[in-house]
Amino acid sequence: MPAKPQTINAYKVALLTKPQTINDYKVALLKLRVGLPPKNAKLEEYEKRWIEATAAAPPGVRKPALPAMQTRAWWLGAPAFVALLAVRSLAAATAPIMDCDETFNYWEPLSYLLRGTGMQTWEYSPEFALRSWVYIEVHALVLRLLPATLLSGANPFFALRQALAILCALSETLFCRAVARRFGVRPATLVLVFSGASSGMFHAGVALLPSTTCMYCVLLGYAAWLSGRHRLGLMAGCLAVLLAWPFVAPMFVPMGLHALAVLGAASVALCAVGGLLSFGLLPALLDGYLYYGAGRYEPQP
């Protein structure tokens, strides 16, 4: 009689170590309480049954969220980051602004926060209050960390673009590594080349725009998702939807459904509430009290 796996660990061992020979498969299949194929069956037939059996683990035994495979592709680490950073950094210094909305709704309010001068669009009139000052302030914080002597002339513009270049390259690297873990090294290497070389990422990667923030969140959120960290992925989605741009929501629907299936409704709801409080309610209150509503006790001119 084959011994039943007594512990969860025994199941995990059976799940993770793939047999090599027909004899090994026989032992493994018996351990998994799966019927053996006919006597003259080929190795492929054994393999097929083993994969089917391991895919449907017994109830109560959760498959490990992360495949144990450790990527041995060294180029998906620091070399990928350095190469991506070189391309993004070049874009930060040279790429034209593709959309005047970037200037007038994002760079100009940033200039107003840092220097007290800038052009105001109607979207920033407190009467309409369509944009979030908190979103601008998050970017301004990066520049406030730099010494003031570095921030003369157009330097803040190029410094922030370089900071966005670093964030973009980092997000892309993490995304590629997660793709390697989940789908294999070959597709990950292709993603690295496609993303790194594409002209779309060249100009959009360093833009001060909510759509670009959403793109960073997709890279980081999907990286977390593909690595089995659903909660982290959902938080990236909440940030994108609530602080950057609500129309990004469809990108995160499959992740949300998958999280519902894996984590359960209660856990996902908790994530949503946490996200709503930190990326929705908090910025809205700050916008209301510190920015658009800052002068509410002063007589209006």
Binding site: Q120, A129, V191, F194, S199, F202, M251
Partner: protein, 335 residues
């Protein structure tokens, strides 16, 4: 944020109910054309990756499918892209930047589809064929095909990125080269009011102004010159921090022209403009008696450049021959 949703979805709560569509409506081919410019081959393969994966993955041996994270995982990872694309496609107001968030998943979809195709061709089909020789040849051909795809994609992408910088890079260069003034120049000192050290003006090139960070220290806010635009331009914020919460005058949410925005040319110390072949009026740049060129850079005259290919992609030896370049200049008033 709630205001943003209300404006875009419910038409601004205003009486005219137009919302986002005030800023232009594009036809249904806009996004596909746009993705082809930004991601060329990867856009095509990425958009087709869902059906391709659904078709290719079942052809793989189960072990290979499992090693790739499984059938459902792959399809799930690219499905968000289709949802988002569907939503944007259904909206009348379309902009290039709306699709930025799709770029990573288009790259992922294309990579997964190529990876699956490569395995099917080198293992799946070959296993059915049986013999070793054609099996190797098929695998080699498949790898060659992928290499060609990647090489072509990188070349097209680099060509497009270079075109962006070479054809449209002038505004960043020119606005970086604004002259600095230490005191109000003589030309404008006679005008009344407290004067900034200098005033920079822009007319029809208002939408390529990179930002106030490029104005030299001591300069006043950017001044607009009337130049054919009929919508609403931004105006300077009130002094810090009152501008955050004070209600600005002359603002509407219907993109209606506000005549109070514009200044006269005689208030300008420097002007940024470009002289295009098709323009009706001569630009300030052209008047050499009053204006001195400080810095110029070549800028693509899109209307005068007839080859779409040469405009959209930088092709060495071809683009520079076929394209017409205008001079994008900052000029200063002669003293």
């Amino acid at each position: 944020m709630a205001n943003l949703l209300l404006y875009n979805v419910l038409g601004g709560g205003g009486s005219e109910g137009e919302g986002a569509n005030l800023y232009g409506v594009e036809d249904y081919t806009f996004y596909v054309r746009n993705l082809l410019l930004n991601l060329n081959l990867v856009a095509l393969l990425g958009l087709g990756s869902g059906p391709l994966l659904a078709l290719l993955l079942p052809l793989l041996p189960p072990a290979q499918r499992a090693a790739r994270g499984g059938y459902t995982h792959q399809l799930l990872a690219v499905s968000g892209m289709y949802l988002a694309f569907g939503v944007f496609q259904s909206m009348d107001h379309k902009e290039e930047r709306f699709l930025t968030m799709l770029y990573p998943t288009l790259c992922l979809g294309a990579a997964l589809a190529l990876d699956a195709a490569l395995s099917v061709l080198s293992d799946g089909v070959a296993a059915a064929a049986g013999h070793r020789a054609p099996r190797r040849a098929l695998a080699a051909a498949a790898r060659g095909g992928v290499a060609l795809f990647v090489a072509l994609f990188v070349a097209l992408s680099a060509s497009r990125s270079l075109a962006l910088v070479r054809h449209y890079g002038a505004p960043l260069q020119v606005w970086s080269a604004l002259p600095t003034y230490s005191a109000p120049p003589a030309a404008t000192a006679s005008l009344q009011g407290s004067l900034p050290a200098m005033s920079a003006c822009v007319g029809k090139e208002w939408y390529r102004f990179p930002s106030s960070f490029f104005l030299p220290p001591g300069a006043g806010p950017l001044l607009w010159l009337r130049a054919g635009f009929g919508g609403q331009l931004p105006q300077p914020f009130a002094e810090w921090p009152r501008g955050l919460s004070a209600l600005p005058a002359h603002m509407n949410d219907r993109n209606r022209d506000e005549p109070s925005r514009y200044s006269e040319l005689d208030r300008c110390d420097v002007v940024v403009d470009v002289e295009l072949r098709s323009q009706a009026e001569p630009s300030a740049v052209a008047d050499a008696a009053t204006w001195e060129r400080v810095h110029c850079a070549p800028f693509l005259d899109a209307a005068a450049s007839t080859s779409t290919l040469a405009r959209a992609f930088y092709i060495p030896g071809y683009s520079d021959k076929r394209n017409v370049f205008a001079e994008y200049c900052v000029v200063a008033r002669r003293s």
